[in-house]
């Protein structure tokens, strides 16, 4: 595996390189990809960061010697139940995943996997930030259903550290509204009102600035803290907003490490401020058999990400 990674790094050929832009038929991507904006924007490094659900043809798996998987719990689970038994027929490329996805990996193909971790050596504490950008995609899939007490409590807990910030800290809200990305039928949501209420309760009397996607044109976020309200990695495991902010000097509450992880096999700089490290797949109990059992019972061929019960199963197994 390490040989593959090194070879790929030395002679990078990746799907997001601009010179191969026209090679990928983006109109073949699933429609929900576009609803994931801005979490799923494309970016480049030599180890080919990509969503497995966008690899619409087996040849694309072999395009690079490595794939850095960006999928969240749901799509990664859906991919594995569809392809775990056949994956070795169409690719030998190591798949680098976020450690939180490790419980989904079936033991019989664990040799295909390693994990990636982010290191940002200079991080600031929330209280030292000049500006805090509070971010959340306002949908149940990202924040949880805030009309339910347990999710409301989770977000309250998540917001709690903001109580301690000085009065001089500027606060900006970036809260794009989204329908439920993987639900076929949409229901009326009150998340945005509930969320604003929570933020106002935690930060009483404070003035907020609202920002929109023009934030993606800004160049410097040094001394900024990007406070993501996402409760887990259900939608994406590699969030573009985190990459974007860290690449411009911000600190993000995504558990980036302060120093290289023990057992780092390979690393490189993702930006002037943060690094990418490859580490072995952690030894954790696999929940794959439960997902596979569901698929067998359901006898559904593909696209389980659209299946409401499968979504609930993934959530209940991984959302603690």
């Amino acid at each position: 595996m390490l040989e593959n990674i090194k070879a790929q790094f030395e002679k990078p050929r990746t799907l997001t390189q601009s010179k191969y832009y026209t090679l990928v038929r983006r109109d073949h991507w699933p429609k929900f990809y576009w609803d994931l904006y801005p979490l799923a924007q494309e970016y480049y490094h030599e180890l080919n960061p990509y969503f497995l659900f966008n690899l619409y043809h087996p040849d694309l798996f072999e395009f690079s010697k490595v794939i850095t998987v960006r999928d969240g719990y749901l799509n990664f689970a859906s991919f594995l139940v569809d392809h775990a038994k056949t994956i070795k027929n169409f690719t030998s490329a190591p798949l680098l995943i976020h450690p939180d996805l490790a419980p989904l990996v079936p033991p019989f193909i664990s040799d295909l996997f390693a994990t990636w971790q982010i290191v940002q050596k200079n991080q600031i504490a929330l209280k030292d930030a000049k500006k805090i950008i509070i971010f959340g995609l306002v949908s149940n899939e990202y924040l949880g259903d805030l009309s339910k007490d347990d999710f409301l409590e989770k977000i309250k807990l998540k917001l709690a550290p903001l109580k301690e910030i000085p009065l001089t800290t500027k606060i900006e809200l970036f809260l794009p509204l989204r329908k439920e990305i993987f639900k076929v039928h949409q229901t009326e949501q009150v998340n945005v009102y509930l969320l604003m209420g929570l933020i106002k309760d935690i930060l009483p009397g404070r003035t907020f600035e609202f920002t929109k996607t023009q934030i993606l044109e800004e160049m410097n976020f040094r001394d900024h803290y990007f406070f993501d309200l996402g409760i887990d990695k259900f939608l994406v495991s590699d969030n573009y907003m985190h990459y974007f902010m860290q690449a411009r000097g911000a600190t993000v509450n995504n558990n980036s490490l302060l120093s290289p992880p023990t057992g780092s096999l390979f690393s490189f700089d993702l930006s002037l401020y943060h690094e990418f490290h490859v580490t072995p797949l952690p030894q954790v109990e696999s929940i794959f058999s439960e997902l596979f059992f569901y698929k067998k019972m359901k006898n559904q061929e593909k696209n389980l990400h659209n299946d409401l019960h499968f979504q609930s199963l993934v959530m209940s197994l991984l959302r603690t």
Binding site: S18, E42, Y44, H45, E46, Q214, M219, R222, R248
Partner: protein, 430 residues
Amino acid sequence: MQKIACIFSFKMSSWVSCQKIVFNLLKAYQLNPDLELLNFNYSIDQYDQEIYQLAQKIAQSKPDVISILDHKPHPARLLIPLIIELKRLGRKPRFIFHIFGDFTLNYNHWGELGKQLEGFEVDFVVASKRQKHLIDKFLQPEHESVVCPFPVDKKEFFYAPELREKQRELWGLKKDDIAYVFCGRLSRQKRIHTLLKAFSELLESTQSPKAHLFIYGNPDNVGDQFLGIWEVEGEYFRKINRIYKSLPLSVQERIHFMGGVPNAELKAVYQGADWLINLSVHNDEDYGMSVAEALCSGLPAIITDWGGLASFEITSIKNATFLVPTKIGEKSKLINYDAFLDFLKISLKNSQFDKRNDISEVTSDQFSIVPASKIIQDLLGTNPKPFSGFNQFFEKIMQNVTFFQNPYITTRKHINTTYREIYSSYVREH
């Protein structure tokens, strides 16, 4: 007393230099006591209804002159309803456009606006002589543009030797070390990759233990789209990082990536440094605000002889500026690498420290707010002829841009005549 409606975005631009330009231009207008200034916010986050109301508000304020100080959002969205409103009220104010480097990115908007402006008095104000040469290609002969450099605030950037020692201490430099700095976006068209290679070659060829390079700014993904080079986020950073990591360790130790810093920190940076380097061959390089600020701080500079950067050449002080020759090559804009390397070698032996006050004075006389204010005052004293639209060359380029996916390159990705016809203005022998 003339009443001037100043239109600009109260929100900060993502282009740091443009933020400063707008506010300094405003200061240049404010210096003139005979002007009554009315400021109007026109920003990217306004909805159509807000813009329509803004247009009404501007028209009802009965300005004599409407001055567009900003580049983003494009003024067409506001001015088209504004002109309709002005016509309804039977008013005909004069329009002044401060043109930025992105003019050539927005032909369609300008074309649309140009038609609406016909019959009004219109001035196009550009920041440098070469930008004038470029913009005049699109204008009727009787409507030449006027040069007014984007001004530097002398209260912010001036010769302040007392800041030097502390900055160099911060950098960990010895007294006789030579510090080169680059400040700006780390962008393909700013040739950071060339800078790294040349600096490495300088260290290896001279074996100098003194030279250090400090690079301020964050990478972008602008690429060079006119020449068919698109970049995805992270791509240019990885390119320069690979170059950097391929250099000998002894060279890497002398190259310091400092990231983005607030503008206020640059004051001390320019004092602590010995030379500014800017190798930009950017299509939008109509000026060079960081170069203007550095020179006003007294810092000598090695810059490309390209676009607006050429306007910073100081001929009255020997070796205060070195202009690296450039040309439009077959597939790319080319920098004379050998000349750059020679300038680096010369600069290593000539810190120009004793001339810094002179450099600051000479530059400030030309590029600060007072001279800009004078140019604007003189302009307001003139009577331009009514605007008769952009010329045929503009129409030709607009059609090319509208109908061709890659209007500036051939199918073999060679730079075509359209690009040369426009950007020949940016090289010395235009």
